[in-house]
Symmetry: C2
Subunit: 470 residues, 2 copies
C-alpha cells in the first residue's frame, strides 16, 4: 500500500525550506492574506485554510514548489483566478495553494495565428490581445472577464459560443505543464494537426489540476466571425422553450442559444432594467453569425421553430448594440440572482432531446425539497445551470438546498446526462462522480492518477475522494 | 524490472486454449489466411507473421482475447480494415491479430443526432447511414471508403474537410473500449458537453490501439452543409502555391484547401484524364460551403490571394458535379501514383507559414538523395503527404528512399512540425517519435502505457520501441 499521509498543518520546517528556495515575497504565510485563498467562487464551507500561498512568478517557481511538495508530501492546490464554481481551487487544510495570478503574459503570433498565454492571464486579456491583431479567440465562459486561461484549460471551460465554436480544449494547440515531481513538459505547438504519440495534451485539458500544473498555453485563433443577428422569444412555460430548443438544433447550429426562466428574467430586470417581459415563464436568446443574408434565413428557421412551440412573442434585431444588450442581460443572470440568497450553482447537462424532461424533473425536485431552483442554460448543447437559492443563515433551508443539489445531479445521470458540462467536478461534485462514471472508469481514473501523481499531492479531493492519512 | 518476455511463435498450447473459448471459426490459424493479415497498407517489410488471427464478432470476443493474451503475455495487434499507412496494424511475429472487420453494425439515433457504430464499420457506411436520415458525419479521410471507423478513431484520422470541420476526435462523443486486462469500459455518451472526470475518452482517441481496443463509437452528427462552390488554381511553382495557402488561411477558413504538385497532377491525368494542366508545377483546390452568396465572396478572396501569389490560371464553378470531379481527382492522387513505383507515404505537418520552406526543403532532400518525392497536401492545415517513389526490386533506390523518408520527418521537426498529422506513428515512424517529443514526453508516454497495459501486450512496437524479451 502506497503511503499518502500528508504532513500536519503546522509544517514550519518544510515551509521555511520552501521560503528559502524562492524569491522574497513569493511564499505568503500571513494569515490575513492566506485567508483570501481559502475559498473560490463555490464558497464550499468545507474548504480548508492553506498553510501557505505561493504566488509563482515563473515556471521555475512552479517546479520548485512541486519538487518540494513531492518530497515533503504536501498537498498542492493550483489556482488561477479562483473563480471555480465547483470548489476546484478551494483550499486544503495545511496544504499549499499555488497561485498563478502573477503569471499573465500574453503574446500573439500573427503568422501562426496563435496566442501564447501564461496560465494566470485573464481570458478577456487573451481575447483582447487577439482582437488587437484582427484575430479572434472564440471561447467565452460567462466568467471570461474574471477567470484565468489556465483555469479555463484545466476545466475545459465552455461558454455561450461553444454550441457552434466548441469549448476551450478545441483551441488548445500546445501547453507547458509541470508534473507532480517537478518535470516540465512541453506538449503540442502551433500545429493544427498532430497525432504523434499518445494524446498527452488532451489528457491535461480538463484534468482540473489533478495531474499537473499548466503554466503556459498555445491557443488557436480564428479570423473574426461576421456580425451576428439576434433573436429573443418568450414562452408560457420552460418546457415549451425547451421543446423549441430541440426543434431548432435539429435544423441549424446557431452561434448562441441560451435560456432563462422567470426567476432569472426577473432577477436580471431588477438589476439592469431591460424591459424584459416579467410575466413570461422563459426567454430564449439566439444568435446567428452566418454570413450575409444567411443570418436572416437562419433566424427565420429559429423563429418558426419558436412559433411552432407556442412562443408568446418573438423579436429579432440586426442592431449589434441591441443584441449585445440582451447577451449582457443573459451574462448578468448569475450575479443578478445573488440577491435571492445564497446560491448553489449546478452545471448538469443532458442530451438535447432530454431537456424538457430535465426541466420538468427540476421543478419536481424544487417542490419536493421546498426550495427555489431557477434554470438558466446554454440550452443549445443541453448544458443547464439550475441555480438553487436559500436565505443566508437558515440552516434548514440550506440542508434542503444541499439535498436538492444532489437530486438534480442524480436526475441528470438518470437522463443519460452529466453532473458537469463545463465547470468541472471540483471538490463539490466529487461525491457524485462515481454515480455517473461507474466503478470501472473510477478505477481507470485512479490508475492514471497513481501513474502521474503517485503521492496524490495535486488537488487532493478533486475527482477522487480523499483517503484518510496512512 | 517488469517482465515483458513474449511467448515464442510456436504457442500451440495457448492458442488451442483460445480456440476453445470462442465460437468455431473465430480463431484462424490457416497460414494462407493468416498471411493476409501480415501487412497493412504501409507494407512494412519488417511486419511479422501472426500465429493466429481472431475475427471477433462481439465485444465479449474481444474481452476473451485480451484476458487470454494478458494471462499468456501474447502480443495483440488490433486491426480494423488494415488500411494503416503507418504500419499501425501490421502483424507481430507470433502474436495475435485481433480483427474487428466483422463488427460493423451502424445505427443512427436521430433524436440525439448521433451514430452508434461498431469499430469495424467502414467509415463510408457511417456517412451513408447518417445521410439516410438527412444528417452528416463530416470526417472524410481519403481512405473513407475502405478504412474502418474504429481505425479512424484510433488514429484520430483527419481528411480533406478538417480544415473547417475538424478531425475524427471532434466527433467522438462516446466509446466502448476493452482494456488490456479485459475490462470493458464505457466512456462519454450522446452529450455535447461533459467534463465529469479525467478526459479518459480523449486519451483513447489517437492512442493507436496501444492502450485498449475500441469496440464501439458514439459519433456526433451535424445538419448537412450547403452545397459547395469549387476553385482550382495552377501555379508555376509549388512554393507560389504554398504562399497562396498562407495568404488564404490568414483571411478565410475554406471547407477544403488541397495541393498537388506536377508529379501528382500528371499521375492523376494519366489515370483519369481530367484535362488538368500537365505543365503547371502545382494545383490548388479550394472549396467554400458558406451559405448563399457568401460562398462566392469567400472564393473571391481565395482567388485574389491566388492571383497575388502569381497563379497562372484560376477557375471557379458552382456546378456540384464538376467540383466533385476535381475532388475525385485529388482523392485519386495516391492510387494514381502507385504506377510510379513502390511508394513511401509521408504525413508530415508544419505550422502553415512554414509550408513554403517545407516544400523547398523537400526538393532539396529529393535532390540530395537522388529520389522522386511528389507533394500532395491538405495544405490549409499544413499537413502534407510527400510521396517517395522508387522502382520495385532496386535495393539501392529503396535504401535512398528510406533515408529520404527519415530526412523529411527530421525537416518537419526542425520547422516546428510533426512527423504525423493524421496517419499515426505506427511501427514505421516510431524510431522518429523521440526526435519530435523529447525524452520527458516519451517517459510520460511510458508511464501511461505501464499503467494501462503493464505487460505491453497491446500493439507492441507502436509509439514505444519494442524492448528485447526479458
Amino acid at each position: 500500500m502506497r503511503e499518502r499521509g500528508f504532513v500536519e498543518p503546522a509544517m514550519n520546517g518544510p515551509v521555511e525550506q520552501l521560503v528559502s528556495c524562492l524569491s522574497p515575497g513569493t511564499v505568503v504565510t500571513d494569515p490575513a492574506i492566506v485567508a483570501n485563498y481559502r475559498f473560490d467562487w463555490a464558497r464550499d464551507p468545507s474548504a480548508g485554510v492553506p498553510a501557505a500561498v505561493v504566488r509563482a512568478r515563473s515556471t521555475a517557481d512552479v517546479q520548485t514548489v512541486l519538487r518540494w511538495a513531492s518530497e515533503n508530501r504536501v498537498p498542492v492546490v493550483p489556482r488561477g483566478a479562483g473563480s471555480s464554481l465547483a470548489g476546484g481551487a478551494s483550499g486544503v487544510e495545511g496544504g499549499v495553494t499555488l497561485s498563478l495570478e502573477l503569471m499573465r503574459d500574453v503574446s500573439v503570433d500573427v503568422g501562426n495565428r496563435v496566442a501564447v498565454a501564461q496560465a494566470g492571464a485573464i481570458t478577456a486579456d487573451v481575447k483582447t490581445a487577439a482582437a488587437a491583431h484582427g484575430l479572434w479567440y472564440p471561447p467565452d465562459p460567462s466568467s471570461y472577464e474574471m477567470s484565468s486561461i489556465g483555469g479555463n484549460a484545466a476545466t475545459n471551460a465552455g461558454g455561450l459560443c461553444c454550441l457552434k465554436y466548441g469549448v476551450t480544449g478545441d483551441y488548445v494547440l500546445g501547453m507547458e505543464v509541470v508534473l507532480a515531481d517537478g518535470r516540465i513538459i512541453r506538449l503540442g505547438g502551433p500545429r493544427l494537426k498532430d497525432v504523434a504519440g499518445l494524446p498527452l495534451l488532451r489528457l491535461f485539458v480538463g484534468s482540473e489540476g489533478t495531474l499537473g500544473v499548466i503554466t503556459e498555453l498555445t491557443l488557436r485563433l480564428l479570423p473574426p466571425p461576421p456580425a451576428p443577428a439576434t433573436l429573443t422569444a418568450t414562452f408560457g412555460s420552460v418546457e415549451a422553450a425547451a421543446e423549441a430548443v430541440v426543434a431548432i438544433t435539429r435544423q441549424v447550429r446557431p452561434a448562441m442559444l441560451e435560456l432563462m426562466d422567470r426567476v432569472a428574467i426577473n432577477a436580471v430586470e431588477d438589476l439592469i432594467r431591460m424591459d424584459l417581459d416579467r410575466s413570461s415563464e422563459a426567454l430564449l436568446l439566439a444568435r446567428s453569425d452566418a454570413p450575409g443574408a444567411a443570418a436572416a434565413d437562419e433566424l427565420a428557421i429559429i423563429e418558426a421553430a419558436c412559433q411552432a412551440s407556442g412562443a408568446r412573442e418573438v423579436y429579432t434585431t440586426t442592431e449589434q448594440d441591441e443584441g449585445d444588450a440582451f447577451i449582457h442581460a443573459r451574462r448578468s443572470a448569475l450575479p443578478a440572482m445573488e440577491r435571492l440568497g445564497v446560491l448553489l450553482i449546478e452545471d448538469v447537462g443532458v442530451p438535447v432531446p432530454a431537456l424538457p424532461e430535465l426541466v420538468r424533473g427540476i421543478r419536481g425536485i424544487a417542490e419536493a425539497r421546498n426550495t427555489i431552483i431557477s434554470v438558466i442554460a446554454h440550452a443549445g448543447d443541453g448544458n443547464t445551470h439550475p441555480v438553487i437559492a436559500y436565505p443566508p443563515g437558515d440552516d434548514e433551508a440550506e440542508a434542503r438546498a444541499r439535498l436538492a443539489f444532489g437530486d438534480v445531479m442524480m436526475l441528470a445521470i438518470e437522463l443519460g446526462g452529466t453532473i458537469t458540462g463545463e465547470h468541472g467536478v471540483g471538490r463539490l461534485k466529487t461525491p457524485w462522480l462515481l454515480d455517473q462514471l461507474g466503478h470501472d472508469s473510477m478505477a481507470l481514473t485512479r490508475q492514471i492518477k497513481d501513474a502521474l501523481d503517485p503521492a496524490h499531492i495535486l488537488n487532493p479531493g478533486v475527482m477522487l475522494p480523499e483517503e484518510p492519512s496512512a
